[in-house]
Amino acid sequence: MIKKKVKIINKLGLHARASSKLTQLASQFNSEIFLIKNSKKVSANNIMDILMLAASVGSEVELEVNGPDEKEAINKIEKLFKNYFDEGE
């Protein structure tokens, strides 16, 4: 199991499209992927739960990945956060 903290840097935060990108990416791996914020833990496969974390710009979430491809998964997901969810800002 790998845990890692990531910061939300895109302007709109984990809104609908960003969340759907995250959900899409997460579904490609065999590992279980969770997001933790303010001690709320949700599965990265549930877009609604991610939305309801209400992670806005500047906030920090913890990724928790557990499974055979956990290393690749956490790297790719972290990259998505760092790339502003491909939104450019």
Binding site: G13, S20, Q24, N46, M48, A54, S56
Partner: protein, 574 residues
């Protein structure tokens, strides 16, 4: 269970005893009903099928967007697709169906309410607004479910169902027309809200402006609705229940007695014949017109043909409807009011109109600004006039220019039919609604230029007293008996007499038996109302002595003391 009473404004008489059914706000038509144990698997299947159908719909939209190179919208559709597959929407309702044994619509609706509640706690305004995406997705699913359900839903005994809703919009009323529910209770609205008008037209007890009704009443509570007093009794004791069953029987006997005067000619004790016409909204209402033996149709509100549909009905479709109504009434008059859309009644013709104001672009104003739409309707009405006694009624006139423009468009429509050698009644009568105070004040001028006048008291009161009919916080100020309103009605009736033109009232006042004698005393001879009111109004006419009520009506017209008017009304009805 604790028994308690809540109060509201009674808008339709009668007593109903039954069980409550709460209607959700987001989609008014969603009601809860129980699913038998043996049918639960079927209900789950129905739910899953609906999800699959919506998924299919969304995928098709996405494909179309890609073809039309509108790909910037694709991520939104992707989001909706993902929301649809999220366990909150795709799994949770299934648990509810199984555990609560409720229908799929209700299961997903309560889940939506939960989700919205959680979204409302979010502070980030942008993410908070995403709840609208969830609502849109759920609405899609519910629409599919309801589409399937139309044949399936079957309340065993509709008349024992009491609907409890926040409000009922005009468009929703159409759906309730085919059902005979026991009663309506709404949190919003006043005596002249659409719920009230609907309830009166269906002749079922109804109470509006019952604050917090949806919080205080639970599903399947036993309720007594006393539409005479405006009282709702929740979980009544056996003694109270007995008492009301007795009262209900008495009321029903009273109603049945009315049927005896169905075929009696409608005249006063002075032998003056009074015409009682019916207001209708859809051709199916003809059934009630016949049941109550109306002398004709005084108001066919055509806007209901235009509601609840994405595209407007074309000339052919309208022609068929008007023709069928005209034919079914034989030689009796059928007054067709042209589209009175806008304000609280929206149709596809109102697309993109930001303001819904009662003072805005509506009725004849809208029609004159959309001559194509108007001409289509005029041609359909004219064509149908070859098959019966049809008249045209223009809503919401406020100036002579509008009237003249309208007449010009009617002439053009006639000319175009003549050119195509299509039959119609060239002498068709054209009347105007008197509902804007300016026109009531100048009734003389309009009586001279029109073939007949019809007073729309609902809007006349609203405009004269500056009361928004849709705002329940001012509904107590709505007063049909305000001396200014009565004087405008009086002025209009006199103008009609002067130019020998027929004057009718087609608003709620015409169907209120408490006001029949006053209006007769003021010289009114034509009343148009909901078919359900015809017999009770007829009963009033039959017992009216013209000489006596004329004197008393004059007294009411001269009275300026609001408190005194109630007494005088009681006196004239003695």
């Amino acid at each position: 269970m604790v028994s308690f009473n809540i109060h509201g404004v009674p808008v339709s008489n009668g007593i109903a005893i039954g069980t409550s059914h709460l209607i959700s706000n987001a989609l008014l038509e969603v009601v809860r009903y129980d699913i038998k144990d043996t049918k639960i698997d079927l209900e789950v299947k129905r739910f899953k099928k609906a999800l699959a159908k919506v998924k299919n719909e969304l995928s098709l939209i996405k494909k179309q967007l890609l073809v039309d190179s509108n790909s910037q919208f694709v991520p939104f559709i992707d989001t909706h697709l993902m929301l649809l597959c999220d366990k909150n929407i795709s799994d949770e309702p299934i648990h509810s169906i199984k555990n609560e044994r409720c229908n799929a619509e209700w299961a997903i609706k309560i889940q939506l309410d939960l989700i919205i509640e959680r979204f409302n706690e979010i502070e980030d305004p942008y993410i908070k607004e995403r709840k609208h995406d969830v609502v849109q997705v759920v609405e899609r699913v519910i629409k599919v479910l309801l589409g399937h359900q139309k044949q399936r839903i079957n309340f065993k005994n509709e008349s024992s169902i009491i609907l409890v809703a926040q409000d009922i919009s005009p468009a929703d009323t159409l759906q309730f027309k085919n059902h005979k529910y026991g009663a309506f209770i709404t949190e919003m609205g006043g005596a002249n809200s659409h719920t009230a008008i609907l309830a009166r037209s269906l002749n079922i007890p109804s109470i509006v402006a019952v604050r917090n009704a949806k919080k205080l009443i639970k599903n399947n509570d036993t309720l007594i609705v006393d539409g005479n007093q405006g009282i709702v009794i929740i979980n009544p004791s056996f003694a109270i229940l007995d008492e009301y069953q007795y009262k209900q029987n008495l009321w029903e006997i009273e109603q049945k007695k009315l049927i005896k005067i169905r075929n009696v000619r409608c005249k006063t004790l002075g032998n003056e014949t009074i015409s009682l016409h019916a207001n209708i909204e859809i051709p199916e209402d003809i059934k009630y017109v016949k049941e109550n033996n109306a002398d004709g149709i005084g108001l066919f509100r055509t806007e209901f043909l235009f509601m609840n549909r994405p595209a407007l009905p074309d000339e052919e479709e309208q022609f068929r409807i008007y023709k069928s109504v005209a034919k079914s009434m034989g030689n009796l008059p059928v007054v067709i009011r042209t589209l009175d859309s806008g304000a609280d009644k929206n149709t596809a013709a109102d697309n993109n109109k930001k303001s819904n104001s009662a003072l805005g672009l509506r009725a004849i104003r809208l029609c004159l600004s959309e001559p194509h739409l108007f001409t289509t309707q005029l041609k359909a009405i004219l064509r149908a006039s070859a098959f019966g006694n049809i008249r045209i009624l223009i809503p919401m006139l406020s100036s002579l220019q509008e009237l003249r423009q309208t007449k010009m468009l009617i002439e053009r429509a006639k000319q175009s039919l003549k050119n195509s050698k299509i039959k119609f009644n060239d002498k068709i009568l054209v009347g105007g609604m008197i509902e804007v105070p300016a026109v009531a004040i100048n009734a003389d001028i309009f009586a001279n230029e029109l073939d007949f006048l019809s007073i729309g008291t609902n809007d006349l009161v609203q405009y004269t007293l500056a009361i928004d009919r849709t705002d329940d916080s001012v509904s107590h100020l709505y007063n049909s008996l305000h001396s200014a309103v009565l004087s405008l009605i009086d002025n209009t009736i006199k103008a009609g007499k002067k130019y020998n033109k027929e004057v009718a009232i087609c608003g709620e006042m015409a169907g209120d038996p408490k006001l029949t004698k006053l209006l007769l005393g003021m010289g009114l001879t034509h009343f148009s109302m909901h078919p359900a009111s015809i017999l009770i109004v007829k009963k009033q006419v039959l017992s009216s002595d013209p000489k006596k009520i004329k004197i008393k009506a004059n007294k009411i017209l001269r009275s300026i003391e609001p408190d005194n008017i109630e007494n005088l009304i009681q006196d004239i009805n003695k």
